[in-house]
Symmetry: C2
Subunit: 312 residues, 2 copies
């Protein structure tokens, strides 16, 4: 692991979410300051060692206090999911893009040096015209969620151009691992494992052929850390394992891991789901010195172990 | 000119603007209905033959009335300019993107078949990595204005994907010609000619080397009409002449045309101005059967003649 984060003062926005908790836990003891910002009034018990600040991202007045004095801001907040963002596109735009513009203005005012934004490798490209998909592929989202992520990427570039606020964007594939709770309808692996452990059937939208690039959370966290200290001209990086797995393959892997047959309820496919999303992450490997270290079966094992512990 | 527009019911949003007036005048007598929508309470006198509807684009309740029963909606409205949009990026996003989302929802509700959107060939690409720039080039705007245009393009694609609302986007270069008034700070040719005819010096931001692709308004109008009836898979088309002219060359051409020396005041360059923007419009030529017909000197002559008439 890297050790050159020492002295860094950072803010993690969305610190009680799946990626946020993992990032904060990884940073703890290795940086100078961690301001952990999230909606929960009481800090998550797993975030001992962080300075917890409760607040609502949609309220811009709280932001300067959170990020003041920080070198790096990790922006991990999603207020919606790909599936629900299309329902009210204006609310989606306001809650994600407008709130992020308030954040960027606050970063300027408080002289934050760099912002790291988690974008969405599974939605910004839309139905990809190249698979695995590199960062240079066309970006034609089929969800308002993906449009918001892409628009925020454009504003980040604008703020660097106009004001010198550095940024890095990680277009993360489908992350999975400990602390993914499957609440808020994101994370099929967490959702599947949770239901199987609870003795319930799982639901699959479509025929099980929808293919995604699943990336273990520790690898995502390492990419975030590398992006925070990256020197170079690259700004936008795909973060995926580069391998596609169908929903049916995920179910089979969970069946092997848990040694039980899984009952599946099939539902109609959703128009928000692109049929296949696999990222080409060679640019991140070259520029960030990153690589996906975790084999899928090992990651799934850790995920199952963590969820078993939580459900006891 | 095309004659197969007959029977078409169309709405022109932004009908009292430069492109809008020219489009309405071209359509008059060739289509079934023209709803001309703009902010002026009294219709522009040049729009006899159109059904004038006064209203504010930012008020979504007026939109269904304007577009109800229309086959094609021409969306020509800009509420900002590249130069002023960066000042308040959230206001820019609200006045252009959010208002357009209201329009798209109104199009769904009223069963509009197709929307034609005028995007910005000079700003969506940012500092181009290819010149002349094709539609497939990277899109990295350096103005909030360009980000709004690009974001609207993405939503248009989303609405076609989700709801079948057809769209075509014209990324228009720098249009010039009659009815460009240089009010609202857009249109250097109009601004220069107006000041020279009034005996005033002109202002140039930078050293005069900023290079743009100037396209005569009649050619833009023809592209709009062709886009309204286009059948094919293309959606986004550059509309430019494919030739670059510096500000200094524009001044020299006006000097030749008016046979007088022009006094120039140089001002510092602006960060919103990309150094060069020239569009590659071969895709529009192939897909729309369009081509830029007007030679620059002829277009400039018509522009000068029109403005002389207006200033008398």
């Amino acid at each position: 692991m890297m050790n050159n984060l020492s002295g860094m003062r950072c803010a993690v926005l969305g610190a009680s979410g799946f990626i946020g908790i993992n990032l904060c836990r990884s940073l703890t003891g290795r940086v100078d300051t961690i301001r952990a910002f999230g909606r929960r009034q009481i800090p998550p018990e797993d975030l001992a060692g962080c300075e917890w600040i409760a607040g609502d991202f949609s309220n811009p007045t709280c932001l300067p206090h959170v990020i003041d004095g920080c070198d790096v801001v990790f922006h991990l907040i999603n207020t919606t999911t790909p599936a629900n963002a299309n329902v009210d596109k204006i609310a989606e735009l306001n809650s994600n893009v407008v709130s992020t513009l308030h954040l960027l203005d606050a970063c300027r005012e408080t002289a934050v040096k760099r912002i790291i934004f988690v974008s969405s490798g599974g939605t910004v490209y839309g139905i990809p015209n190249e698979v695995p998909t590199p960062e240079t592929a066309a970006t034609n989202p089929i969800t308002a969620y993906g449009i918001s992520k892409l628009t925020i990427e454009k504003y980040l570039r604008l703020y660097e151009h106009l004001y010198g606020l550095q940024y890095r964007v990680l277009r993360v594939a489908n992350p999975y691992g400990p602390y993914q709770t499957a609440q808020g309808n994101q994370g099929v692996i967490a959702a599947f494992v949770r239901r199987v452990l609870a003795g319930k059937p799982i639901e699959i939208w479509g025929d099980g052929s929808v293919t995604r690039d699943y990336i273990y959370i520790d690898d995502v966290v390492e990419a975030l850390e590398l992006a925070s200290i990256h020197v170079g001209s690259g700004r936008i990086f795909n973060i995926g394992c580069g391998e596609g797995r169908t929903l049916s393959a995920i179910v089979a892997a969970i069946e092997r891991q848990l040694e039980k047959d899984i009952s599946i309820q099939y539902r109609p496919g959703r128009p928000v789901d692109v049929p296949v999303s696999i990222l080409d992450s060679t640019y991140a490997m070259r520029e960030l010195g990153w690589r996906p270290r975790t084999r899928f079966d090992d990651g799934l094992y850790s995920t199952v172990m963590w969820m078993r512990g939580r459900l006891q």
